[in-house]
Structures are given as structure tokens and as C-alpha cells.
């Protein structure tokens, strides 16, 4: 019986060792980022070579290389923010789809809401002006004034006729 137990013990340790070594080998293999992960970052960028085409759909060789660079950085464990910062440092802030609110860029964020508010104000003023009744001379007062005037003329005429 004893040799049998030893065989089982040996077998158990061998299997455990095999499983543990397999798992650690899996951990050592670098994770390959998926296209979706790469494109999630790439769509936030534009390459200066092909203006107005987001990096995730740009078909040029330059953009393909940039996407590969993103993949490499993701594989190295870089975060999205780190990758964005790296691209800005390497290629300038204009690679970003959303420009940072620095320098004259802040105008991009300030002007649209200001223009909207100005539009609302102008509309409000226009509505108020339309609703305000235009002061008109009442017919009675007009008649009264005319009467007085006519009366005076008639009186003068009478004086001169006499």
C-alpha cells in the first residue's frame, strides 16, 4: 500500500506544479489590446497628415503606424490619459479631437454659449417690444383738440369778417 500512496502524492504534486507553471506562463505573455480598445483612443485623435479624418478610420500608412503605437503603449500598460499626453507631447495639441482650453482655444468653449445667451436676450427684447402697446392718441382727445382748434379758427374768422 505504501508505494501506492507515494505514487499518488507524486502525481498530485506533478499536476499542481504543471497547473501553476501554466498559469504563470500565461501571466508572462503580454496582453494584446483589441482593435476596439485601440480605436476607442484613436477616435479621439486626428493626424495632421489627413485633416478632418479621425485616426480610427484614417486609411493612410501614417495613421496605421499611429494606431500601432497606441496598441504598443496599451500593451505596455499605459492608461488612456498617458497615451493622449504622449501624443500631445510628440505631435502637438492639434492631434486632439477636443482641443484643451488653453490660450485662444478657450474661445471655442466660451463663444457658443455666449452667442446663445445673446440670441436669447435679443429674442426676449423683441418679444417684449412686440407685446408693449403703442401709445396712441385717443379719439376723444383728438376730437377735443381739433374742436378747440377749429373753434379758435372760426372765432378768428368771425373777427376778421366783422
Amino acid at each position: 500500500m505504501k508505494p501506492r500512496i507515494w505514487i499518488f502524492v507524486l502525481l498530485f504534486f506533478s499536476i499542481t506544479l504543471f497547473i501553476v507553471s501554466g498559469a504563470s506562463a500565461q501571466d508572462a505573455t503580454p496582453r494584446v489590446p483589441t482593435d476596439d480598445e485601440v480605436n476607442a483612443i484613436a477616435k479621439q485623435m486626428y493626424c495632421p497628415v489627413c485633416e478632418n479624418t479621425p485616426l480610427d478610420v484614417c486609411p493612410t500608412q501614417a495613421c496605421a503606424e499611429w494606431r500601432e503605437l497606441i496598441r504598443d503603449k496599451l500593451a505596455q500598460g499605459w492608461t488612456e490619459a498617458q497615451i493622449r499626453d504622449y501624443f500631445v507631447e510628440q505631435f502637438g495639441a492639434r492631434v486632439l479631437a477636443t482641443p484643451p482650453a488653453q490660450g485662444l482655444n478657450w474661445l471655442v468653449y466660451v463663444i457658443p454659449p455666449l452667442a446663445f445667451l445673446a440670441g436669447v436676450f435679443i429674442l426676449y427684447r423683441a418679444f417684449v417690444a412686440w407685446r408693449k402697446p403703442i401709445p396712441e392718441k385717443t379719439p376723444s382727445s383728438v376730437d377735443k383738440t381739433e374742436d378747440e382748434y377749429v373753434n379758435r379758427i372760426e372765432e378768428e374768422l368771425r373777427k376778421h369778417q366783422v
Binding site: C47, P48, V49, T60, Q61, A62, E65, W66, E68, L69, D72, V88, E89, Q90, F91, G92, A93, R94, L104, L107, I111, L114, A118
Partner: protein, 189 residues
């Protein structure tokens, strides 16, 4: 004039003054915005840096980590070449530029500088190895150098004379070594 009439006049004047300030502010803002737009458009319409003008100064950090400042190279003719590894026409002139550099290098009067435009470091280094390029090369960090020279693409070559003035611009690849000599030699006389 009665007090009542005077009050009415004052109110009218106040009403007239208040919207005027608003209008002045609105028009000033609009004028400023249009001014900025005009300046931006004017800048975007400008071509490359003009020949005869002082060449914009820059510092190139090479792939080896060396820092080269243009203003420190006064007294030498500087050949500044913009390229990219993905640019096929750049390959056309790469070997010629290297061969010409090797001819001028012993004299020490001409220096070649390569600027990798919107390129990844890995691919840039592969390109330099492929064409055995030995003159200093580095990335255009933040695209600052290309913006200063208002480049329109790659390849582009700017030759700066010994006084730091722009003497020659080539917005396409050089077709021969002779063509590069023709651009540099008059500046050494």
C-alpha cells in the same frame, strides 16, 4: 418745465444710455472676434518662410538625445530636411542626402539636420537604418519646427546660409546629388 416732465425726460435718457453700453460691448466683442478670425485666416494663408528672411530658430532633440540649436550653428550652412518614414518620395532623396552629407562633412562648413515629421520613433529609426543615414536626426516634437517653417508636407528642405538667413527652399524631393550641390555651393563662396 414741470418736475413730472423733468422726471420723464430723465427716465428716457437713462433708457437710451443703458442699451448703448450693451451695444458697444456687443460690437466690440464682435470686432475682436472678427479680428482674431482675420489673423487666423491670414496666418493659414501664409506660404513657407520667405527666402532672404531670418530662419526661425529651433532646438532639435536628436534620437540620440543630443540637443542642436540652429542659432548655435551660425557661420555654417544648414540643410534642414523634413521627412517621414511613411513618405515614399522621401525615400527617393534619402540616399542622395546622405551621400552629399558625407561629401561636405569633412569640411565642417555644412551641417545636415533631419526632422522626422509626425512619425513614430520606432519607424523613424528603422528608416534611418535602412538608408544608413548618419547626419543628426530627431523628431519634430509637438510639430513645433514644422509649424515655425510653415511646412506643407514632406519631403521639404530648407537651406539656411551662414548668417542664419533662409537661402533656399525645396518643397519636393531632390532628384540628384548634383541638384543638392547646386543649392549649397553658392552659399559657401
Amino acid at each position: 418745465m414741470t418736475t413730472e416732465t423733468q422726471d420723464t425726460v430723465d427716465l428716457d435718457t437713462q433708457e437710451r444710455i443703458r442699451p448703448r453700453w450693451g451695444r458697444i460691448l456687443a460690437w466690440t466683442g464682435l470686432a475682436l472676434l472678427l479680428g482674431l478670425l482675420f489673423l487666423g485666416l491670414q496666418r493659414s494663408q501664409e506660404g513657407p518662410v520667405q527666402i532672404g528672411r531670418q530662419a526661425p530658430d529651433f532646438t532639435l532633440t536628436t534620437f540620440d538625445g543630443e540637443q542642436i540649436r540652429l542659432s548655435d550653428l551660425q557661420g555654417k550652412v544648414v540643410v534642414l530636411n523634413f521627412w517621414a518614414s511613411w513618405c515614399i518620395p522621401c525615400e527617393q532623396e534619402a540616399a542622395d542626402l546622405e551621400a552629399t552629407w558625407k561629401q561636405y562633412q569633412p569640411g565642417g562648413k555644412v551641417i545636415f539636420l533631419g526632422v522626422a515629421w509626425t512619425d513614430t520613433e520606432k519607424k523613424s529609426l528603422e528608416y534611418l537604418k535602412k538608408f544608413d543615414i548618419t547626419y543628426p536626426n530627431g523628431p519634430d516634437l509637438g510639430t513645433r519646427i514644422s509649424q515655425a517653417y510653415r511646412t506643407t508636407g514632406v519631403p521639404e528642405t530648407y537651406i539656411i546660409d551662414r548668417n542664419g538667413q533662409l537661402a533656399f527652399v525645396k518643397l519636393s524631393p531632390f532628384v540628384s546629388i548634383q541638384e543638392i550641390h547646386t543649392a549649397i555651393d553658392p552659399l559657401l563662396e
